[in-house]
């Protein structure tokens, strides 16, 4: 059940982010200044974390989405759904370990 809660919460979070994201991208239609102004905020530390959270949410939602699809399609996956929950978390950890250092480096300078 907890994976379902996670899936639902991340789904909603991504949805609202997507709305905002389309709106801000729409600013490119207004003027370069306006866009760059808003996008500039994304480069502050606070937004760095939000950005990281977004990636995390997508990664979790996507991996668990795959798990759900697998469970729907194969009896093996259905019977091993608990192990697959672990697989989702492990996959998630790997993605985040790969992504976070790079992302933080980009955000805060460094090498």
């Amino acid at each position: 059940m907890w994976m379902w809660v996670v899936h639902r919460t991340t789904g909603v979070a991504i949805f609202f982010f997507l709305m905002v994201h389309v709106l801000d991208t729409a600013l490119v239609r207004v003027s370069p200044e306006a866009y760059n102004d808003v996008i500039g905020h994304y480069k502050t530390p606070l937004y760095t974390f939000i950005e990281a959270g977004l990636v995390a949410a997508i990664a979790l939602h996507a991996l668990n989405g795959l798990r759900v699809i697998a469970v729907d399609r194969s009896t093996w996956a259905l019977r091993h759904q608990k192990q697959l929950v672990w697989a989702v978390w492990i996959g998630f950890a790997i993605i985040m370990l790969g992504f976070l250092p790079r992302h933080l480096m980009h955000a805060f300078g460094g090498a």
Partner: protein, 255 residues
Amino acid sequence: MTATAEKPAEVGAIPTMTVTLKIMRHDPDGLDGREPGTDYWEEFQVEAHATDRVLDALHKIKWEQDGTLAFRRSCAHGVCGSDAMRINARNRLACKTLLKDLNPAKPIQVEPIKGLPVEKDLIVDMEPFFASYREIMPFLMTSGPTPERERLQSPEDRQRFDDTTKCIMCAACTTSCPVFWTDGQYFGPQAIVGAHRFIFDSRDEGEWDRLEILNDKAGVWKCRTAFNCTEACPRGIEVTKAISEVKHALNTGEI
């Protein structure tokens, strides 16, 4: 032979201990100065054996301490489906849950199953649950003249729906399903199990009528594969698998 006879699993040799049960009460009559319909927690302590069931502990309370405690039970060995309740935040049958499997050092929390209206203490209104079951036309449907002898069925065909024939309609699954909690419009896993038992019975010819019903808004597509139902089922029925097979039948048109 004799070696096993001397094993310590024997009844009578087990020491007693004190366990605390924390029970969610609901008083519909409003006795002892309470408002009618008050919910409150109440703790009881009973002497019990580790091998006693939660049902035994509840009986001890009812019989020795507080006769007003209300719960349903009948068979006391997990076959009648009367006593599904939430024990330590999981749906189980009180008569199939041994104290020793619950860490009796801590208070054992007992609540009514969720998602159905509570009537008194651990008793809920089962009518909505049975109504969903009736919705899915849970009876054999056949056409043509009745044969004189039995309708034949190979052991393999019989095996296909064996799992879902075991259901005792305890509602542990349906009332553990988070989708059922949210709006109650969902038929719930038990109704799907009940339908599965006929859909995959080679003798039945009403499968598409039933699938049609389950294809509806309140049907299988509401299931979000939360697996609570499978984990709750005291009969070990693979509920999510049954639901998945129904989805598969609807998607492929094959049974």
